[in-house]
């Protein structure tokens, strides 16, 4: 603080005759110079420069983001102007045959504006359709639907069905996976490391899976202007960094606010011998209790975000008619997601945690319940952009947890570089990813 003050006074001493506010204004003025130049350039380009810079013809672009098939013989297409210019919609069609339609709020779409095209049409369930709109310059934009399925109406009944699906694929498997706790508790340190690393493998698979899925959505349903793929990378990195920061703050807190070098300890109770029950030791104990819970909690939040994305995909698929939600699919998700419960409990296994059961249940719910919210949002108000963001946040969270797990293990090793060459760690990681891959095969895509 003292040093800071010195620094400030020295910098202002040269201009001590001027009032401080004037110096500020000057600084802001200097910062604005490039903007002024830029503004002048823009004015030039839109003004006199337009005649020789007006290269090429801007083409209209309309993206059909979503198509809903309603029970009473109505098809609704949600369209957005994703091109560089305003567009006017001329006509609408079903399977390239012109149909009577209404467009709300109106046929004129400014850039990025959204509109709803309502087409009365006696559609048949399970049949493929191509819905098209033609802009006033005669360009047709279309979207294909593999199989028409009645739109989920946001009523209690439909919400309950989605909640049931979410419970089956999200909550029950995760809670079931938590029951591996007693098993992990009885493992020796070497075997425990294997399973902890296996957890990391499971998580890395989930993270990659989330990114791949987000990429699929970005490629199919998001218009180019939104840069969906860049958004995935961006959000994943930001999510990772934000959680890194949060976890280091968490580490500091658990040490009673001392902001020295964070000495993060492994997530299982060490067999360190010869320590007296000093205050420091008690402190140490407390940290050992909190830290594994924190990691488990972060895992469950990461998995929760992932499951939210999974729920979005399930809800949207039902509505978009992309999958028939067969019992086989549900079973596939159940087996796949049971491993997520394992991932949550493994850091807790060697820690002494009070009220373990209630904490575990809370974490299981944090990981599982978002599936239900996901199915609701995916089914009732699907937005591809939101889906991408959630999946990417989940991926970042998952990678951050993996990072924490390995850092924890590495700090336990006397020789820190050794951890990644440990056979059981590598085997665990590989087996974890393979388990995910194999159980993933059950899910028909």
């Amino acid at each position: 603080m003292e040093e800071d003050r010195n620094l400030r006074s020295s910098s202002s001493s040269s201009s001590s005759l001027q009032p401080r506010s004037f110096a500020h204004a000057k600084l802001i003025a200097i910062a604005l110079v490039p903007f002024v130049v830029l503004a002048a350039m823009i004015a030039f380009i839109f003004g006199p420069g337009q005649q020789f810079l007006g290269i090429g013809t801007p083409l209209p672009e309309i993206t059909i983001e979503r198509v809903e098939f309603q029970e009473d013989g109505i098809i609704v297409a949600f369209i957005r102007n994703t091109g560089p210019i305003d567009v006017t919609v001329g006509q609408a069609d079903v399977n390239d045959r012109i149909q009577q339609a209404a467009i709300e709020p109106g046929r004129e779409l400014p850039r990025f504006a959204e509109a709803k095209v309502i087409i009365p049409f006696p559609w048949n369930e399970g049949e493929p359709y191509e819905i098209g709109v033609t802009s006033s310059d005669g360009t047709r934009f279309s979207k294909s639907i593999d199989a028409a399925a009645p739109a989920a109406s946001p009523d209690v009944e439909q919400a309950a069905v989605f909640a049931l699906i979410g419970t089956y694929v999200g909550i029950i498997p995760v809670l079931a996976g938590l029951l591996w706790l007693p098993f992990i508790k009885r493992l020796s340190l070497g075997k425990y490391r294997f399973f902890l690393s296996l957890t990391a493998g499971l998580l890395v698979f989930l993270g990659i899976d989330a990114i791949v899925e987000a990429n699929g959505i970005a490629a199919v349903s998001v218009a180019g202007v939104f840069n969906g793929q860049i958004l995935i990378v961006l959000v994943t990195i930001l999510s990772f960094l934000a959680l890194m920061y949060a976890s280091s703050k968490l580490g500091e807190r658990s040490k009673g606010g001392t902001s020295g070098e964070t000495h993060e300890l492994p997530s299982y109770d060490s067999t360190h011998s010869g320590h007296a029950k000093t205050l420091d030791q008690q402190h140490h104990q407390q940290q050992l209790v909190v830290k594994p819970v924190a990691i488990a909690l972060m895992i469950s939040i990461g998995i929760g975000l992932h499951n939210f994305g999974e729920g979005l995909a399930i809800g949207a698929s039902v509505v978009l008619g992309e999958i028939a939600l067969s019992s086989f699919l549900i079973v596939g998700f159940m087996i796949h997601n049971t491993t997520e419960g394992f991932a949550i409990v493994s850091p807790l296994a060697k820690a002494r945690v009070r009220r373990m059961l209630s904490k575990m249940i809370i974490m299981g719910l944090i990981a599982g319940v978002p599936t239900i919210f996901g199915t609701w949002i995916g089914g009732f108000v699907y937005s591809p952009i939101a889906a991408i963001i959630f999946l990417s946040i989940g991926a970042g969270a998952i990678f951050q947890v993996v990072f924490l797990i390995y850092r924890g293990m590495a700090q336990e090793e006397v020789d820190r570089g050794k951890i990644m060459s440990n056979a059981s760690v590598i085997a665990g990681f590989a087996v974890g990813m393979l388990i995910m891959y194999v159980t993933g095969l059950i899910i028909p895509s």
Partner: protein, 381 residues
């Protein structure tokens, strides 16, 4: 323990916020929509046939089939006027007694006009319309067409029929701002297309440089209510597939503006197929059959039918009269074309009733789709 509580609280808040975020994208747009809807105009769409939903909208209606809401000033043709308009040219008699008919055709390729409700296209036109004017002469007349190219690309006029090589419109392409006079005798009698023959030919024809040319036999055909129908279409997105089909350019036009004809009166349709990109096109008449004169080059009919199928450039004369009054469709029996606009309606009127109306009757401005009666129950038995 407080740490855990804080984390749980943070997680819950994060979940709520993220949910709110996901919903907000939708609801924000929704709010805008509500704000714009406050004018409360209401239109109803659908429901004209069983199975089609009924929907009240505060937005705009896109309905080229049942209404005609476009600004007529920007439309490339008035199909009502075109239907029965024949250009006989400026007539004079030569020293040897031959009738001379002089026509002027001006080509342009720079306009963007409406070719289907709400859809605008770079139209290439003769005398500003698609199709160009219907040229009509009698066999043996001398025809002079003063052609002016007012466009930005070379154009020409290629007329089907019998004429000299240099009048064929193939070897002399007329450059922008150029002029040329085509001169030939009208032979043989029949119905023909005329069109630009400059390459790329497909482009010049599909943009609209065509029209109908009729040569009457020296002893005229019987008196009839005569009309011209040119079957055409437009590929507005340049994928070599037509987006719109019609007779006389505007899709569905004669559905909301049915062609009024008199019961029992002889109707003669000069039908020409100028459809680009598709190999075939056809004409099917409801509730009736017609005498078909292929190419119109014979006075005796070739066939008595309700269906004629034509490739590009083919044409025929159709003659029929209606036995019963009412509304009768005519359309391509290639259903795809019909559902992209090539469909129309004859409104057959009982002449006695028309007279008793005092002539003022509910004439051509009928904008509504004909009433469809849905029959339920086991009527079929």
């Amino acid at each position: 323990m407080t740490t855990v509580k804080v984390i749980v609280a943070v997680a819950i808040v994060a979940a709520v916020l993220s949910t709110a975020f996901a919903v907000s994208g939708q609801s924000f747009v929704g709010l805008l929509a509500i704000a714009q809807d406050s004018e409360l105009k209401k239109n109803t769409i659908g429901g004209h046939t069983a199975g089609y939903g009924l929907y009240d909208t505060s937005g705009d209606v896109l309905d080229p089939a049942n209404s005609y809401s476009t600004a007529s000033k920007e439309v490339v043709i008035d199909p009502d006027k075109y239907l029965r308009a024949f250009d006989y040219g400026r007539v004079s008699t030569l020293a040897d007694g031959t009738t001379l008919r002089e026509f002027t055709l001006v080509a342009d390729d720079r306009q963007v006009m409406e070719i289907s409700p709400g859809v605008f296209y770079n139209v290439w036109t003769f005398n500003g319309t698609i199709p160009g004017p219907t040229l009509r002469a009698t066999e043996g007349d001398l025809i002079k067409i003063n052609f002016i190219n007012n466009g930005s690309k070379p154009h020409s006029i290629h007329t089907h029929g019998i004429h000299k090589s240099e009048m064929d419109g193939v070897f002399e392409t007329i450059n922008p701002q150029g002029k040329f006079t085509y001169e030939f005798y009208a032979e043989a009698f029949g119905v023909y297309p005329y069109h630009c023959h400059v390459t790329p030919l497909e482009e010049h024809i599909s943009h609209g440089l065509y029209g109908v040319y009729i040569v009457d036999p020296k002893s005229p055909r019987p008196q009839a209510d005569e009309m011209v129908m040119i079957m055409n279409g437009f590929d507005t997105d340049f994928d070599t597939e037509n987006n719109f089909y019609a007779v006389n350019t505007i899709p569905y036009y004669y559905m909301h503006h049915p062609i009024e004809i008199e019961q029992g009166k002889l109707i003669r349709v000069y039908l020409v197929n100028m459809l680009e990109f598709d190999q075939i096109n056809n004409f099917h008449l409801h509730g009736n059959l017609y005498q078909l004169y292929r190419s119109g080059t014979n006075v005796a009919p070739d066939e008595y039918t309700d269906m004629v199928t034509m490739s590009q450039g083919e044409r025929a004369i159709l003659e029929f009269n209606y036995k019963y009054p009412g509304q009768y469709m005519f359309h391509a029996h290639k259903t795809e074309f019909a559902e992209k606009g090539w469909v129309g309606m004859f409104l057959v009127k009982d002449p006695a009733e028309t007279r008793s109306d005092g002539g003022s009757g509910s004439s051509s401005s009928s904008n509504s789709f004909p009433q469809t009666t849905t029959i339920s129950g086991d009527v079929g038995r």
